[in-house]
Symmetry: C2
């Protein structure tokens, strides 16, 4: 994203500043790259660190590696961009001027800040300062998507759907799993994404029911069920989609687990509307699988929120009381992993609408790749 | 890797246990995925968490997600594999039985453990327990590669070299950066790697001298210098290689910065042998660039160690006193980023040998892709 979106990002930061006032936070230090992209819109190489510091008095300060300074100044909307210092023993010294001498309540992401960073920040701050976890605040802000975010997620879902249809043409006995997942990576770039949401994986036969969750050198064989799970990033926003394929002729049992997984997914999607709990969506899908006698072979959640992170709030799983709201975006992906038989999962992304939900991913869902 | 390599991995764990005795550590808890792969050999999906707990009395315990349990038991060499608990409020409760009541010195990676994990572990442990950073220990163990590791790194370097030569054929004016980096991802899978060491990036023209460090939708234009930085993973081990390309005809100034960057790299490689300091390698390369008048346009380190992590010990940069030893593996990659003109960097991987070093990457280094 670029300066044309600065209004959107400034609005997001204003929402955070409001929460900071409510929670009496004198400073927030964000280290999590997805949180930083949410507020800055700035894209960094995935392995590169930066810090976004937000003070109610001084506004945002963006601290980046020297190598990223020129670009952050050119492309970012935040005016105060400074480099990590090179003449001090620790790069976190860049934050020293922000702490001051007064005891402040300082917001950090406790599941992102490392222990060594925390110990160093503790040394920079007044003894009276208290570190407070702001993850719940940022997760809640990010869970409800703006129209601009939904437009990006819609495009990311379209790209993933297009790629899924294209990859399908290459699936046949004798091809290796890794060939199909690397072909997926290629197509993700060709179709206009900035990259893959996560390393795509294609699992077939035993690898699928284990489930392996990585692509291997295994060759696809006649009579197997196989899964491709992948997603694309468009302007920072992730998509996530899974389809199940039959490699040649399959057995009635294999057809059955696919049919049940697909029906469970449909039940999950139909349960989604504002006001229901995330666990109700899980229950709707899980009941279909349990009623068919496969309950113990569905060992994961039914769905997860998606946005700048490929997994974020809300989580649709047992015991999760989160209330779904309009403009949340989540996946629905119940699956069955039956040893000796195969695995089946159909995953789509939906946006919660005032009356229910709209499915954003569109690639054919049938086992053969044909429209149902 | 699989059970056939269990001897190698058990040997690595024995070396850690010896350090634990020296440092009087009663327990080590590893959360860093690369450290865990080093000791277990087990490959997980990149976004999935696991914990390796090592006790001098009980040996290793590997704690994985329920979804990964079957495969970890089948493919791993560690006998005690347990799943994260699902019926407790926090998955770290799996570690509770390991702490005991006595105060222990507990080794953790302070730059990998998050603050929330640290706070929870603190609650599980006796008040007399002390958390000690073991990063220096694991980094030192991993810096010297075994013959088996060097064989993997050699293969990873070969794959990257092959891919670099193949991508070169697709580089021409009018192609988008992202097309070339996604083509690189495809070829990495085709050539036998398990995946890419990091998201490959192709930067051209202004994007290269910024430097952008990500691929964009920008189209390659006549008269630009362009860089591709990428690597492959073979059996857990990373490679890393960069080449610079001329898009059509380039100017004498562009040729000059390429020639200087290449000479600096050669000087760095020639400085490598057991007993020299890492900063001496940096100085050898940096002096060439400074003497040519481009010192301020070389804003990064000269090289970094590489193994299971794409960046690890030793770091070849100013002020780093690490003494190079035989069987260390590192990159050499000085670069020049000259605004308005272009960027040039040639990066190769070398293994330190008793008398000097051997270059592991082999793709043609000339601007046009022809052998020099």
């Amino acid at each position: 994203m670029n300066t044309s979106n600065s209004t959107e990002h400034a609005r997001r930061l204003d929402a955070l500043l409001e929460r900071m006032r409510e929670h009496e936070l004198g400073l927030v230090l964000l280290f999590d790259r997805d949180n930083i992209r949410y507020f800055t819109g700035f894209r960094l190489n995935r392995v590169v660190a930066s810090i976004l510091a937000i003070s109610p008095e001084e506004g945002p300060t963006y601290i980046v590696a020297k190598l990223d300074l020129n670009r952050a100044k050119r492309d970012g909307w935040i005016e105060r961009v400074i480099p990590f210092p090179e003449d001090t023993p620790n790069y976190l010294d860049a934050l020293r001027p922000l702490f001051g001498n007064s005891g402040k309540r300082i917001g950090v992401e406790k599941d992102s800040l490392t222990l060594s960073q925390a110990e160093y920040l503790r040394g920079l701050s007044s003894e009276k300062s208290e570190f407070v976890d702001v993850r719940a605040i940022t997760s809640e802000l990010r869970a409800i998507k703006s129209d601009e975010e939904i437009a990006c997620l819609r495009r990311a879902a379209e790209i993933a759907s297009n790629v899924m249809e294209l990859v399908q043409g290459a699936i046949r006995p004798g091809v290796r799993e890794i060939e199909l997942s690397s072909w997926t990576e290629y197509l993700i770039g060709q179709e206009g994404a900035e990259g893959a949401s996560f390393e795509p994986f294609f699992m077939s036969g035993e690898n699928a029911w284990l489930p392996q969750r990585i692509s291997s050198q295994k060759v696809l064989a006649e009579g197997e069920l196989a899964l491709l799970d992948m997603g694309a990033i468009y302007d920072g926003y992730c998509s996530d989609i899974t389809r199940t394929f039959a490699i040649g002729d399959i057995s009635p049992e294999q057809e059955q687990i696919f049919r049940v997984a697909r029906e469970a997914q449909q039940a999950g999607i139909e349960a989604i509307r504002p006001g229901v709990r995330a666990c109700d969506v899980d229950a709707a899908a899980r009941t279909v699988i349990e009623d068919a006698g496969f309950g113990e072979y569905f060992p994961h959640l039914t769905g997860h929120g998606i946005g700048i992170s490929s997994h974020e709030m809300p989580i649709a799983d047992r015991g999760v009381e989160t209330i779904l709201q309009s403009s949340m975006v989540l996946t629905v992906e119940p699956g069955i992993y039956l040893p000796g038989i195969g695995a089946a999962r159909v995953e789509d992304m939906v946006v919660v609408t005032p009356l229910g939900c709209e499915v954003l991913t569109s690639a054919p869902r049938g086992l053969t790749g044909k429209k149902e």
